[in-house]
């Protein structure tokens, strides 16, 4: 049994002295408004010259009360608010919540077309999120043109999202029981076009970045964490896989039919920022493979379950049938009740294991939606990763941890 040395906490509180160090140290607030902190984060750095002695992140500048807001919305309405936590990968949050609610309801017959659409769009979201991380990380390191490449590819993905769901971000397209609407005509042509163009663009970006001397100089050996420590600090996702541990929720606890797709878990043994960088590049390729397989599968059929108590009937039927009208009215005015219970549903978001511990009290609103935000735990590890590095490396480390503050603060 290992114990943590609690003196690291004490040293941070005392801003005037650091045990064993007689020299002056400078306390610098890398404040909430900063171009490179990827959002509203304050890092209180204690510096000895240019070297960081300790870095204490302060969060809470984007606390939105999403969990409390979700407690006041119906089960199907909460999907809209849940999207806004991890705003770079909104459909991951939706998927996690919707799967949790479906398990509480005992629904296990989601139609195959809906499963394939969910997987396809979650992987598109994963690529879009990794592209933003790549672009902003590169721009922090000085490679401004990669930002342009990455965002151009992201625009193609957002075009597809807008074509199908109506919104570029915060689609709120998943529903408890399937997806909201079927895809319009022309969707498959767009997907084929994307599937064809993406690998070449990814290869371009890899060619510029992977063996780039500056990237390698700035990222190799920075922010190293071993596999055992990564497990101790509760890290998951690309950071854990970048330390060599092959844990991917899609493989370990498959959901939405992921066991039927053929893809690899991307790992890299080194445990530094460079390995996380490579892991994310590899993951984009794996996500593309999954999308390609999903496109080949693409079955026909309905996109929602047939239960009128959960999914409203189609509009055309409401005009003819009294029963359909009553179902629709009941769903819109007072939602549906979910049986009492609690469940923890994990999902692999681009940042790690996103989990939701949903408690239902038998009513038509969730009693408690507890997020297990991957970025919250990943960011905590900054206190372990930062000491000993230079100030410029802090920027690289924060970029490689990929925090999203909507999720950290909720």
């Amino acid at each position: 049994m290992s114990t943590t040395d609690l003196s690291i906490f004490a040293a941070e509180k005392d801003l005037t002295a650091y045990p064993g160090d007689e020299r002056d140290t400078l306390v610098l607030s890398m404040g909430p408004q900063h171009p490179s902190t990827h959002g509203v984060l304050r890092v209180m750095l204690r510096l000895d010259g240019e070297t960081v002695i300790s870095a204490q992140p302060e969060i809470g500048f984007l606390h939105t009360g999403i969990e409390k807001q979700a407690e006041n919305l119906f089960w199907q309405q909460a999907v809209t608010v849940v999207d806004r936590a991890d705003y770079l990968a909104p459909l991951s949050n939706s998927l996690c919540y919707v799967l949790a609610a479906e398990r509480l309801l005992g629904i296990d017959n989601i139609p195959p077309r809906a499963q394939v659409l969910r997987v396809m769009f979650t992987e598109l979201t994963r690529i879009a999120s990794h592209l933003v991380q790549l672009g902003t990380h590169a721009i922090d390191l000085g490679a401004q043109s990669i930002f342009m490449y990455a965002f151009e590819m992201r625009e193609r993905i957002l075009e597809i999202m807008e074509f199908v769901t109506g919104a570029r971000m915060h689609q709120s397209w998943f529903r408890i029981g399937g997806v909201a609407l079927d895809v319009p005509k022309g969707f498959l042509a767009k997907m084929d076009d994307f599937i064809e163009r993406f690998p070449e663009r990814l290869t371009d970006m890899r060619a510029i970045l992977e063996k780039n001397v500056i990237i390698m100089d700035r990222l190799i050996g920075v922010g190293v964490i071993s596999a055992q420590e990564a497990i101790d600090w509760g890290l998951t996702g690309p950071i854990l896989r970048g330390s060599g541990v092959p844990y991917d929720v899609r493989k370990a606890f498959p959901y939405s039919g992921y066991e039927t797709y053929d893809f690899d878990i991307c790992t890299h043994p080194a445990g530094d920022c460079y390995s996380r960088f490579i892991v994310r590049l590899d993951e984009m390729h794996q996500a593309w493979r999954i999308i390609k397989q999903a496109r080949e599968k693409f079955p026909d059929g309905p996109v929602t379950i047939d239960d009128r108590k959960i999914i409203p009937p189609p509009k055309t039927e409401i005009q003819h049938s009294m029963e359909a009208l009553i179902h629709h009215f009941k769903l819109v005015s007072s939602g549906f009740n979910v049986p009492e219970g609690h469940i923890y549903q994990p999902v692999e978001s681009p940042r790690g294991e996103l989990g939701m511990y949903v408690t239902s009290a038998g009513g038509n609103k969730p009693w408690r939606v507890r997020w297990r935000p991957p970025s919250f735990y990943n960011l905590q590890a900054l206190r372990r990763l930062a000491p000993g590095n230079l100030v410029a490396d802090i920027v690289a480390i924060i970029g490689s941890l990929d925090p999203v503050f909507g999720e950290v603060d909720r």
């Binding site: 049994m1 943590t4 101790d232 294991e353 511990y357 408690r368 905590q380």
Partner: protein
């Protein structure tokens, strides 16, 4: 004690062990749909966590709070654990294309006192227990005994009240910054 389901032998054995060692502090063992869980009282938390760790659960995934007001016991602190078998740490041992052995999952639910909720802190055992315990203090008012730096993390430092409690109104007790900069009352909450 519930029957051991396939894949849950480790946690079933753990539940039996906890029930025996904690005695009156052990409330309930449930084999829920997603994982096995144990409900205990706060005094037994440290012993339970040591037993959990010894059973191979090496990652603390999450510490979360729930308020079950008006039921008693009101507060629930839930701990989720993940057990990575040693094969995960050996490079190359698990083929990345195959489906690896799934880590086991376990949940501990602790029910502190209603009036003065205190739970022992896990900061000495896992380094990542720090922030979620501060969050549970901030949003629910549950104190963690032994935490080195228990202060608010998500709300401003001078905030009054614990927002995620069920008796705290959604719109808050007062609004700090009002539309147009004019002072005004908080709009009433319309309850159905």
């Amino acid at each position: 004690m519930p029957e051991a389901q396939p894949g849950r032998e480790v946690t079933a054995a753990l539940l039996t062990q906890l029930a025996q060692s904690l005695g009156p502090l052990f409330l309930e063992a449930v084999s829920a749909a997603d994982m096995d869980e144990a409900a205990i009282l706060p005094d037994g938390l440290l012993a339970a966590v040591d037993a959990v760790r010894a059973a191979g659960f090496n990652q603390l995934l999450d510490i979360g709070g729930t308020d079950h007001h008006p039921l008693t016991p009101r507060f629930e602190i839930s701990y989720h654990f993940l057990a990575f078998p040693p094969e995960y740490l050996e490079p190359g041992r698990i083929n990345s294309t195959a489906t690896p052995l799934a880590p086991a999952r376990f949940r501990l639910r602790v029910f502190p006192d209603d009036r003065d909720p205190v739970v022992p802190s896990l900061c000495g055992r896992w380094p990542n227990a720090d922030w979620p315990e501060r969050e549970a203090w901030d949003l629910f008012g549950v104190r963690f005994d032994g935490h080195p730096d228990l202060r608010r993390i998500l709300m401003p430092d001078d905030w009054e009240g614990h927002p995620l409690r069920k008796d705290y109104p959604l719109r808050g007790l007062n609004r700090r910054f009002n539309p147009g900069g004019l002072p005004g009352p908080v709009p009433p909450v319309v309850t159905k």
